[in-house]
Symmetry: C2
Amino acid sequence: MKIAISGKGGVGKTLLAALLSKTFAESGYSVIAIDADPDSNLAATLGFPHSEKITPISEMSDLIEERTGVRPGQAGALYKLNPKVDDLPEKYSLEYNGIRLMVMGRIKKGGTGCYCPENALLQALITHLFLARDEVVILDMEAGIEHLGRGTAKVVDKLIVVVEPGRRSIETAYRIDKLARDIGLQNIAVVGNKFRSQSDREFLISSLPNFEFLGFIPYDQAIVDADHANLPIVDASQQVITQARNIYQTLLSAVQTPSPAN
Amino acid sequence: MKIAISGKGGVGKTLLAALLSKTFAESGYSVIAIDADPDSNLAATLGFPHSEKITPISEMSDLIEERTGVRPGQAGALYKLNPKVDDLPEKYSLEYNGIRLMVMGRIKKGGTGCYCPENALLQALITHLFLARDEVVILDMEAGIEHLGRGTAKVVDKLIVVVEPGRRSIETAYRIDKLARDIGLQNIAVVGNKFRSQSDREFLISSLPNFEFLGFIPYDQAIVDADHANLPIVDASQQVITQARNIYQTLLSAVQTPSPAN
């Protein structure tokens, strides 16, 4: 299963990506978590040590050509091979707590260009990656809508849009939904994050009447405190972990993939 | 004066852009507020009616060539003219409460590309725009760091990074600072937003010891409520407006531009 997590900046995309990675890993899945946001830090959120050792996907051009028969960016070519996950060289990922982490690209020097080439490579990788039944890819996308213009995540099985109780994140969810449909992505769902009250929850539900809700994550001061203390926020709150587990269950029944334990 | 507002997604860039636009306008400046984030809505934050009538900067290619003698994207050409603000055709902006609003580009169809061309045009416009002493341009930039790779805001007089009491927004501030210096932008300052306590404030100050703080904006439930009720959040909280006024004063003394009243 390939899952992408999108939404307005600051809504908690990276937290959800980390929570789902952890939950899938604990349930017996092989997880590839991909940090596709150059202004994010999925590694730190998951508590990875030495994530700077990972060679980013943006330096995988030769490998992708070798495995797929296609030079990234080249149009109309035939795809010869499906690269398998357990085939990906170790140097492009780092494993910790059963999660293999990959990163899209490094932060570049100011003024040296956009992230279009990195996005093209990431798209090539996730398009051609052949997953076994017990393997899952979780993509933490860049904030906002530009990646949908680029179509980076167009082959995922599920696009999760994270929203918080605020009108701007709702507006972004509608934009993402529209843009995702433009690129043929139909399987979209939302997760509500940082709700503080029943009325926050109702605000989200009434603002997004035609969306599938996978679940809700409460605001928890323990997450904020862990962040300030520079501890992995993914482990900070039991109630948040419990809600992530519920979201995982809903997600599995929604996409009807049998769990590897079955 | 040309000011760009940057920061992690969700920290309150658009709120600060709107507050400063309003404060400068009320102090007698001619304000051009530019919404440079396709996933933002500066118009709604400022309470603009009918913002959909604005022709975006991305459709100004011919005008920029005519006024500057340079086709946007063309390198090494000579700049013949400086376009003046009061010369810009009405159709590219909408005026409301003394603020002229421009937008970088419309939301495009999913899969049709990135925002590189729009950023190139915006950069051309703000580079060549000749401002009178009582004119100010306020740019609400896209979340994150990609616009610094593109160098969109490299000619501004001041880059303001908005931070909130959370480690991720601090990390983004450091990344922005580094990338901005790569493109020759030295005049960088921060504004702390959404602080709820003295310890939030101290967390921000101690996390960013070498940064110039222009001021702090408190968390205010009135802003959240106005957002939920779909009212212009720029008018929602008197204490926030007061702090914006302090930031405006600090900004003026920092860049030593005489106010138009002098």
